[in-house]
């Protein structure tokens, strides 16, 4: 009898069917705009990382004034001109990217770190636990996010880190909701029941089965949120709460440059364009990721 079962089923043939991840990546690659967005983001990330090496004016980027050269229009030595303190604007853009981009990434990271596990716990256990967590989430969601962030930032005091914490605190509830919804549907899948039937403890199930499987929607949402997080950071910096001058940040560059904008648009304008490009790129990437991740909207086969 064993021979019948052994010979009747030959070894698994080499995988002809690509995995879900491979399919998503391939579909994503097809979206030309999204790939352009990736290049734009890469550009800004690299320039802000290597800012001191890329600009001939590292000191000015960091804040050192150069009053003699103030208000210079774009030229060969200063491709984007100089600002009201004579600092090279291009250098300021590169240095400002550090603040703005880091804010975006860290805010989303923190929000996911807090929100995702809470959502998984709420979705998995249901009942009282679910109620408590979701009511807390609802409280946070009922505040207009920007106002809440400003309020918290004001309470915490100015500064780069405080700004990030403030924004992250307003952002985590969205991930809790998202992950909870995913968890509730995941909970019904047989492999979760199989793990329970084996006696795997609940927290282990959440950590090893639930969270890795909600990764894709969280990633998609996170990518789209990066742009918004950067915008929110810029807004907080714009009103003077976050990064303090002379440290560069695209938000405070706009706020400092706006009174000069009519006649000398280049420093506020450059910062604005930078924000615009980065946010747009993240949105394009996020859109493409979302379409690629959902088998129904995935760009089909040829």
């Amino acid at each position: 009898m064993t021979t019948t079962t052994l010979s009747a089923e030959p070894a698994a043939s080499p995988p002809a069917v690509p995995s879900e991840r491979q399919l998503i990546w391939r579909a994503f690659r097809q979206d030309k705009l999204a790939m352009l967005g990736v290049l734009v983001i890469l550009f800004f990330v690299l320039t802000s990382l290597f800012a001191p090496l890329l600009t001939p004016y590292p000191a000015q980027g960091a804040g050192a004034p150069n009053i003699i050269e103030k208000f210079k229009a774009p030229s060969a030595e200063h491709p984007l001109g100089t600002d009201y303190l004579g600092r090279d604007v291009l250098a300021r853009i590169f240095y400002g990217g550090r603040s703005s981009l880091t804010t975006g990434f860290l805010v989303v990271f923190l929000a996911v770190l807090i929100g995702a596990p809470l959502g998984a716990v709420a979705g998995y256990f249901g009942g009282r636990v679910d109620d408590v967590i979701m009511r807390i989430t609802d409280v946070f969601l009922s505040f207009p996010p920007l106002l809440l962030a400003i309020a918290i930032a004001t309470a915490l005091g100015s500064g780069f880190v405080n700004t990030m914490i403030a924004i992250a605190i307003t952002w985590w509830p969205w991930y809790t909701r998202l992950v909870r919804a995913q968890t509730v549907s995941l909970r019904e899948r047989y492999f979760i029941e199989a793990a329970r039937s084996i006696g795997v403890p609940s927290f282990k199930i959440i950590a090893t089965h639930i969270l890795p499987n909600v990764l894709t929607p969280v990633l998609v949402q996170g990518t789209m949120d990066l742009g918004s997080a950067i915008l929110t950071g810029a807004a907080i910096n714009f009103i003077g709460l976050g990064v303090q001058p002379p440290q560069a940040d695209w938000g405070n560059m706009i706020s400092q440059g706006r009174i000069y904008f009519i006649e000398r648009p280049w420093f506020a304008g450059s910062a604005g364009v930078a924000i615009f490009l980065v946010v747009l790129s993240f949105n394009l990437i996020g859109d493409a990721l979302r379409d690629a991740a959902d088998p129904r909207t995935r760009r089909g086969e040829a």
Binding site: R189, S197, G199
Partner: protein, 326 residues
Amino acid sequence: MSGPLLIETRNLCKHFSAGGWLGGGKRVVRALDDVNLSIQQQETLGVVGESGCGKTTLGRVLLRLIEPTAGQILFEGRDIVPLKGEDLRRQARDMQIVFQNPYSSFDPRFSVRMSLAEPLQTHQGLQGAALEERASELLTQVGMPVDTLSRYPHEFSGGQLQRIAVARALALNPKFIVLDEPTSALDVSVQAQILNLLQDLQQRLNLTYLFISHDLSVVEYISSRIAVMYLGKVVELLPTALVSAGHAQHPYTQALLSAIPEVSVERRHKRTLLPKSVFEGKAQAGGCSFAPRCPFAMDVCRAVEPPLVELETGHLSACHLANEMQ
């Protein structure tokens, strides 16, 4: 052959409540309603019924994946319903389950090795070489090659995955396995392979099965006794031989037998006990739950719920008509 009782359920009930918001009545769904079953060691008890009969709930309640509302579940004489925590986890070693959909039975992010490691690590703390050895052994038992370990679920066909699911169920050397429609999602030729495998394993490893299916011909092939369920109750319990001979007494069982399309003309004639006409009727409170659809319903059927009565040795039926004719 079969031996002493391995599992016994007494007055097992599972009620789900729905509704009850804003003045609307609270509805109670009796998924399991006073179920009394016993399964002997090394036998296969088949459970058939259509949607809503409670057979799926029964399988899960036995494993405490769903908590029963009332009643007892005796495993080797001990009631496992009150078990908690560590005791419950230890009990899990003796009772396992194989599900209907092999693709949904595995975490798509887990390799086969990781999926098989889950029970082995949780209970036996196996690691490294010992884990590898035991996992390979399990795969060989179900007729899968050892290089399966490094692969992922999406690389396999339904039949192959179901074999791996059986391997996982065997990991802790259980005594009892609930097979919840294990071949319903598989093609006929693959189903045959899996059924052969299950029977082979039962003999070699002295396993006891609860085989749940909506497909009566499959249940007849693999089971020694069959329980027919309808709306949460067992309406008939009888040896398979009686079913195959067309000697079912409960009208619902007869309806099932008549409704199944058969390839063989001979079988078709033998098993068409009722016309395949429309069973209509609105549900009513009290009385036999099948009465609204039953072609033989009498007044007593609509008023009094028929008890499950032994008609002859090993053949129980819950039907006033069948009882009368004894």
